[in-house]
Amino acid sequence: MTRINGFNLGVYAFLLTIALSIVLGATAYAGKQQLTAFVIGVPTITLLVFLFLAEVTPRLIKLTGAFGVSEDDAPQAAEDDAGASPGGMETGSWRRIGIVYGWLLLYFAMTFVFGFYIAIPVFMVLFLTIESRLIPVFAVGVMAAAGLPLYIIFRLVLDIPLWPGILPRIIPGVIGGGIVPQLN
């Protein structure tokens, strides 16, 4: 690995931020409550800083090899085909990754607003027609064939109340709607 991997740096930075905020936050608490945060946090931060530096300083990469920190240590790497990404995953292009995550975000947004009962069939038909390239009639068929058992299992047999969406809440008196739980 000769060039700096910006993506890895971003992940290290993210994890460092979490670890640092917990350790620094711990100073606000009394006595023994700080103990675990420090005992675990300080070595964790040290490791992460070390990984970060190893990524930017080629000389350190050699050193990390000696410490068993190198990527080569991952036996899983052995099973990857050419062109595989680090971490032993074989993914598509960044564009494809973005599209798939976009689908998840879209599905969540629909669920949040319209509730499970509307979001599930709509999402399924959209995904099956656009992403899976099924003809719409087929997609609706698959959705019905798969959605019905889901409805029977979760609603009728298990009686799990599913999120009704915030929309019915905004338009009052329709079917109740869900109270959005407090975030703050």
């Binding site: 609603r155 009728l156 008196g173």
Partner: protein, 333 residues
């Protein structure tokens, strides 16, 4: 069978929802004195996991109340923060009586004092008392101390407790202060872990409601109750003395009992509250309900809404009186 009732409920919900606007309009136009209650299912919040004592009692009572109210009373477990999330949920519900919550008192008051969340318990619309669990102090049978005097002579007695907040911590703080016992808490013991802690010698004493599995344990040969926080002998453990008998009446009465009190949102109209409390009382008079609650190791001593509000005020007073002791001990840890 319950299943069929549940399916029916969904259909009925839809019907009711469809008719809701019409009913509301009709009610408003007529200026009827009879409150339109309940117009849909009533939710009963439980701040603890399904399967616990309060949850069990809630389900038994709610089931009976459903018959009386003509709608389903649905138990919803809102776990979190040692029961506090359910309290908050009810405190900010609409005051239309369609949501009620059972809460462990005075535990919730202590928690609120130590870490305020802007809940005023005197503001809640109290429905009544579902269950009562009498507190007791117990230890492993192998230990050779029995009386407050025995404990006073020991260096630092350790109590296995759930945490540095909460009711058992309050009761432990008060007891040791009143009885002049030197003590230290060992925390993180929930449920039956406490008994394991006693048997292992992690601690010498534990206290809590003598109900459910704790009651079973102290009725067995491995544990003994040193005293009960009541003024009269406790039926299921008749051999244990009361704090009054030991000369500490200030700890007696049912001041330190764990109460399962039921409240609706603040500002719930009296007529709606009356409908709720009638159904609630009727349920608690049912022999099957009482037997079910007793089976789960809890007692039934009903209170009217006004009496409940008074009890809450009294609890508020006790907590206020001892909160500094609790805070000091907690911060010393």
């Amino acid at each position: 069978m319950a299943r069929i009732g549940r399916i029916g409920r969904f259909g009925r919900l839809m019907l009711l929802a469809g008719a809701l606007a019409a009913i509301a309009a009709f009610g408003a136009a007529c200026g009827d004195d009879e409150p339109d209650f309940p117009t849909r299912d009533v939710e009963w919040f439980v701040g603890f996991a399904a399967g616990g004592g309060f949850d069990t009692a809630s389900r038994i009572i709610a089931d009976k109340m459903s018959d009386d109210l003509g709608v389903n009373v649905v138990v919803r477990n809102i776990e979190g923060g040692g029961g506090r999330r359910a309290v908050q949920e009810i405190a900010r519900s609409d005051p239309d009586g369609h949501a009620i919550s059972i809460m462990n008192m005075p535990n919730q008051i202590t928690a609120e004092r130590l870490d305020p969340e802007d809940v005023d318990f005197n503001e809640l619309s109290w429905v009544g008392r579902a269950v009562i669990q009498t507190y007791g102090l117990y230890t492993a049978s192998a230990n050779d101390f029995n009386t407050p005097e025995d404990l006073q002579g020991m260096p630092d007695v350790r109590f296995c407790l759930s945490g540095l907040a909460g009711h058992s911590f309050l009761v432990a703080s008060v007891t040791t202060e009143v009885m002049n016992i030197a003590w230290n808490p060992v925390t993180g013991y929930r449920g039956q872990e406490t008994q394991a802690g006693l048997l292992r010698g992690d601690c010498e004493l534990a206290l809590g409601p003598i109900a459910g599995t704790t009651l079973t344990a102290v009725q067995g040969p491995d544990f003994k109750v040193l005293w009960m926080y009541s003024s009269e002998r406790f039926g299921p453990v008749p051999d244990a003395p009361t704090v009054d008998e030991l000369g500490f009446p200030e700890l007696g009465g049912s001041k330190f009992a764990n109460n399962g009190l039921v409240a609706a949102a603040p500002g719930t109209p009296d007529d709606i509250l009356a409908i709720l409390s009638d159904a609630f009382d009727a349920a608690l008079q049912d022999p099957d309900v009482i037997a079910g609650i007793n089976n789960a190791g809890m007692g039934v001593e009903t209170l009217t809404p006004d009496e409940t509000a008074e009890v809450v005020e009294g609890m508020d007073g006790i907590v206020s009186e001892y909160i500094d002791t609790v805070r000091q001990k907690s911060q010393a840890q």
